[in-house]
């Protein structure tokens, strides 16, 4: 096995097991930490594909900012494993059925798909220079529209979060 393959399998196992850890651990703080580890594994995959910019932005945005906010909420609410409410039987049954259905669909999709050999030739599209050029020439319209979308979401959040006039609480 080459270094590339060893790294690939290591990162894959890490990503999948950490992702399982997110849903299996009972303590929400542990779930968040597993999710952060998953992001690191995915960033590792990006680096293997020579997409350094995506890798680091994934870490800055998701691990560095969004997950910190998640942790905030969880820590302030002080959720623990023993405060988790007991689900009733009907919900559990519905969960099992829908999960099983999803599993079947995924299994069916996986059966018919062919396994592609890892492509190891390094591409330069993930480097920041090429990515920027592509984004601002070929995909400039979708890029700008998505930025407007972010802006509107931000304004919406400010409007919701703002206190109403005369209300001082």
């Amino acid at each position: 096995m080459s270094v590339y393959e060893i790294l690939f399998w290591f990162l894959t196992v890490m990503a999948l097991s950490c992702a399982l850890g997110v849903i299996l651990s009972r303590n929400p703080v542990n779930s968040v930490l597993f999710l952060i580890a998953t992001f690191f594994a995915i960033s590792g995959h990006y680096i293997l594909m020579n997409a350094q910019f995506l890798a680091i932005v994934n870490i800055i945005v998701y691990a560095g900012a969004i997950m910190v906010l998640f942790l905030f909420v969880i820590m302030l609410m002080n959720l623990n494993a023993d405060t988790e409410p007991q689900k009733n039987r009907l919900i559990q049954l519905a969960g099992v059925i829908s999960g099983g259905a999803l599993f079947l669909v995924v299994l069916a999709a996986l059966r018919t798909s062919t396994v592609n050999v890892l492509e190891q030739t390094s591409t330069d599209i993930g480097l920041i220079k090429n990515l920027g050029k592509t984004l601002f020439t070929q995909f400039v319209l979708p890029f700008e529209i998505s930025s407007v979308l972010f802006l509107s979401a931000m304004i919406g959040a400010v409007v919701i979060g703002k206190k109403e006039e005369g209300q001082t609480a």
Partner: protein, 352 residues
């Protein structure tokens, strides 16, 4: 992929030297802090251990190592231990992309004084800095103490708020340099005067540097932004439950961070290892000596920044929390945006 054994060995030596160097400088930064405080308050400061108290950091370290290790009963044990480790790890990781000196060209090959010249250098630093919050947050939460939790949440929200302004300042910088690699940014600031204007970025981005410096202070949790350690409101801060070397790691990580961020400010804005008349000096001495001079120049700049940060700590009073947030969101971010706009206008219409 053939990996050269010599290459790996060289990198390992370089990493070891850099890590030990940063640890040593951070150690003596604690001594310098106490001396600076003493001088500014008309005291003598540490003067018992060794000449001028120079052995004081070793005595402190020894004391911390031999203290009793206490892990609170109701704490989350694993995270409680991981907290200081993470703080230390993120503090040391940033040093990997800093170019410490120019390449040394010898007969047997080129020696690079940089661990990794990746083409996303600045973003790497930014990423590691944004991860630095976790050490504080996890430590504070795992202590299972309300004061620690409040303090760590303060620290984290402060760091997130000031990261934004810092990022926007960096955008303005990058528009000018056109590269994210720290090596290239330093090379662009070669010498001091290029015949028309100063080469150092500080003279091209003075407002940017000011914002960056304030944000760096806030990220470091240094005075006047040391709210997470505000003892009058929060007993001691997020490390209240910590003892022995775990506490030492938290305190020490702050000093390492201070050193590394000083180096980064020197690299980004004050020319890194470049100095006036460096071409003449390079012609006069042999290449190895020249590299040593360059490294010394960078370290001198960094130490200057460290001293400046210390003077600020012992001069200015602490901000109140709402003042801190107002400064970050309502002053620095708009200012950084204006700075970015001006930079864009100048690049588009004046320089072309």
């Amino acid at each position: 992929m053939e990996l050269d054994l010599m290459f790996i060995l060289g990198k390992i030596i370089l990493i070891t030297v850099i890590l030990l160097g940063s640890l040593g400088i951070a150690m003596y930064a604690t001594w310098a802090e106490r001396k600076v405080a003493a001088i500014m308050q008309d005291r003598r400061g540490p003067n018992r251990a060794g000449f001028m108290g120079l052995l004081q950091p070793l005595a402190d370290g020894g004391k911390l190592f031999f203290k009793e290790e206490i892990i609170p009963d109701r704490s989350t044990r694993f995270l409680f231990i991981m907290g200081p480790g993470l703080a230390m790890l993120t503090a040391l990781m940033t040093s990997a992309v800093v170019p410490w000196g120019p390449d040394i060209v010898t007969n047997s090959g080129i020696i690079t004084l940089q661990v990794a010249d990746i083409n996303i250098g600045i973003l790497f630093i930014f990423g590691v800095v944004s991860l630095g919050v976790y050490g504080v947050m996890l430590g504070g939460w795992a202590s299972n103490n309300k004061f620690s939790l409040l303090s760590s949440i303060r620290a984290a929200s402060q760091a997130i708020s000031y990261e934004l302004a810092m990022g926007i300042t960096l955008v303005a910088m990058l528009m000018m340099t056109g590269s994210l690699s720290l090596r290239e940014i330093v090379d662009q600031q070669h010498g001091f005067w290029d015949g028309h204007y100063f080469t150092w970025n500080f003279f091209k981005q003075p407002l940017g540097f000011l914002i960056f410096f304030v944000c760096a202070l806030a990220e470091l949790n240094r005075a006047p932004f040391d709210l997470p350690e505000c003892e009058s409101e929060l007993n001691m801060g997020y490390h209240q439950e910590y003892s022995s070397m775990k506490l030492g790691f938290y305190l020490f990580a702050e000093y390492i961070n201070m050193f590394i961020s000083s180096v980064i400010m020197a690299t980004l804005f004050f020319g890194g290892y470049n100095f006036p008349f460096m071409d003449q000096v390079a012609g006069a001495v042999n290449p190895i000596l020249f590299s040593v001079i360059c490294v010394m120049v960078l370290l001198t700049k960094a130490i200057g920044f460290i001293l400046f940060i210390m003077f600020i700590r012992w001069t200015l009073p602490r901000f109140r929390y709402d003042q801190l947030m107002r400064l970050g969101w309502k002053s620095l971010i708009p200012l950084a945006l204006v700075n970015m706009l001006i930079t864009g206008v100048v690049i588009l219409w004046v320089i072309k």
